[in-house]
Symmetry: C2
Subunit: 329 residues, 2 copies
């Protein structure tokens, strides 16, 4: 039987869609390809980072759960996380707001309090933007940062025998979201107030070969690193760092908490690959991370192991294949 | 009677809203304030331009009138126009797309054909972006350009006795939109396929003191220049360049065609102010513009003159105070 020809974007999904619209970049000063979360361009002797991210009402946030302050903070933290994953520092942001005409001024005031609070925390500035009208609220942030040449950590830098590591613990944002959706009590703060790992990225980027932030779940991020680095990998399920709160949410929701970590998103923790030698050096300066796997040759594929048994590793969160919007309403 | 306290953003309007959310920029490398269409930052000896613009389905385009190709082109031309108004050249763009899951692939393919066609025409590259899900289609473009220090033309540069000039003819996009809304036959192409004046801006910026592009109508743009330059101005109504097509649309719709020019938007023509001396120099290299007014001291205010008679000059198009969305449905 022949596969049906895709007609709608939900037939394709996010990754195939990005491949479909990408064309080769010719400019030699652009060091990344379309598909990276952050573009890197060389201006004189400096590496400039450029990233953009949109959050949409009822898709990324909903005002029953989020305060306007939290929406503003989240819109910023997600972009800071993209800059952090390259080893860089944020410098400037532009904000393109889409608002309904009946949006209360309270929302705007709270949103911008959140935006400016995050900007102050990380030391960057809001330098412009645009406001327009639409039937749902969305916030698009474009962020400009920079990175020292020797600190730049791309997705494509993973080497065979590198260890795969992850900062903090993961699955917590997705666990919080699931609790909110199912109207269960529990620890939802990591979903409402995710935090980028900027300070940590500044240390890790001195030692890591590849890095990415967890925005669509560990499975998806490991696949991205392997794709771009042309490598395989093994992930040890029992080594994935899951907090007590996330385990608790798993119990309440009768779900394997590791699934939150593998297939949920928006933790903004960092996944990085590092040589054994550099791992020892890193440990002297920073301890809040876990080794969860190893980079293999491409021919070995990408696996999840549980007590030595091979499991299928799925994909991450896909904005066009999920039905989260239904829950959010 | 005391004024009612504003509660919703439609009570405030676009300009007051931008003032409300703006804070002073401290970084000395940022040469503009929030409220400019384009931010200017100094990186080493280069001036980098950063701008962002969102177009939303049923607000800025509607798929009964626009082909996907035209949507893609318009999303790019509007950003190129912002860069052109600073005297700069576009270099890179990021695209943040918000799509419904049932968006046909045809739309995406057409959209990106338009996007890449404009990028090729002006010689810039698409270097990244983001795709997410929402209930209405929106396209946010962030554009990065550069400008030579001596060519930078801000809104704030107008000087008393400068002549106020405008390229080409204006009101044509708004006239086209009005014809489409009222389901009348006529010349609608300037609305569906607006074009930035990039090449022209490269000549004008050598001579002009201030420049802005016409995105919300001549009245609004002249007000912006006067505000930022702390000046007044007089505009001569009969000198505003209106094409035969726009006059024709005025007849069909029983509307003063000058209103399209003053209060309509998205012509992407350039409004600039220039000394008499430089005007002569400019005329030797470029002729497709009209002198429509003069810069005055701030104390004189901003006026519209028709055959020597003072008329009230209104404001431009306001995304939050117009009811265009109702027409678009």
């Amino acid at each position: 039987m022949r596969a049906k020809k895709p007609k709608k974007i939900s037939d394709l999904g996010e990754v195939a869609l990005i491949k479909r619209i990408s064309r080769k970049i010719k400019d030699k000063n652009v060091l990344t390809e379309i598909g990276d979360d952050t573009a890197v361009i060389k201006i004189r002797d400096r590496y400039i980072l450029l990233t953009t991210d949109t959050i949409v009402e009822n898709d990324h946030f909903n005002l029953n759960w989020f305060s306007p302050l939290q929406v503003g903070k989240k819109s910023m933290e997600s972009n800071v996380s993209d800059i952090a994953s390259m080893g860089g520092m944020p410098k400037y942001a532009l904000i393109s707001l889409c608002l309904r005409e009946d949006t209360p001024l309270e929302f705007i005031d709270g949103l911008y309090r959140g935006i400016y609070r995050v900007a102050k925390k990380y030391g960057f500035e809001i330098i412009g933007g645009n406001i327009t009208h639409g039937s749902e609220i969305s916030i698009t942030v474009s962020m400009i940062g920079d990175v020292k040449k020797e600190r730049l950590t791309l997705r494509s830098g993973a080497k065979v025998a590198d260890l795969v590591c992850v900062t903090g613990d993961i699955g917590k944002s997705s666990a919080g979201l699931s609790l909110l959706i199912k109207k269960k009590k529990g620890y939802v703060k990591p979903h409402l107030e995710p935090k980028a790992r900027l300070k940590e990225s500044q240390i890790i980027s001195r030692f890591a070969n590849a890095m990415i932030d967890v925005s669509d779940g560990l499975a998806s991020e490991v696949r991205h690193i392997c794709d771009m680095s042309k490598k395989g990998a093994v992930i040890f399920k029992e080594k994935i760092p899951i907090s007590g709160h996330t385990k608790e949410a798993g119990k309440i929701l009768r779900k394997d908490p590791t699934d939150f970590a593998l297939y949920g998103g928006e933790d903004f923790e960092l996944v990085f690959t590092i040589s054994e030698k550099n791992l020892k050096k890193l440990k002297k300066q920073f301890k809040n991370f876990s080794v969860v796997g190893k980079i293999l040759p491409k021919s070995k594929g990408i696996h999840l192991l549980e007590k030595g048994k091979k499991l299928k590793l799925g994909s991450g969160y896909d904005h066009f294949k999920s039905n989260i919007k239904e829950y959010y309403k």
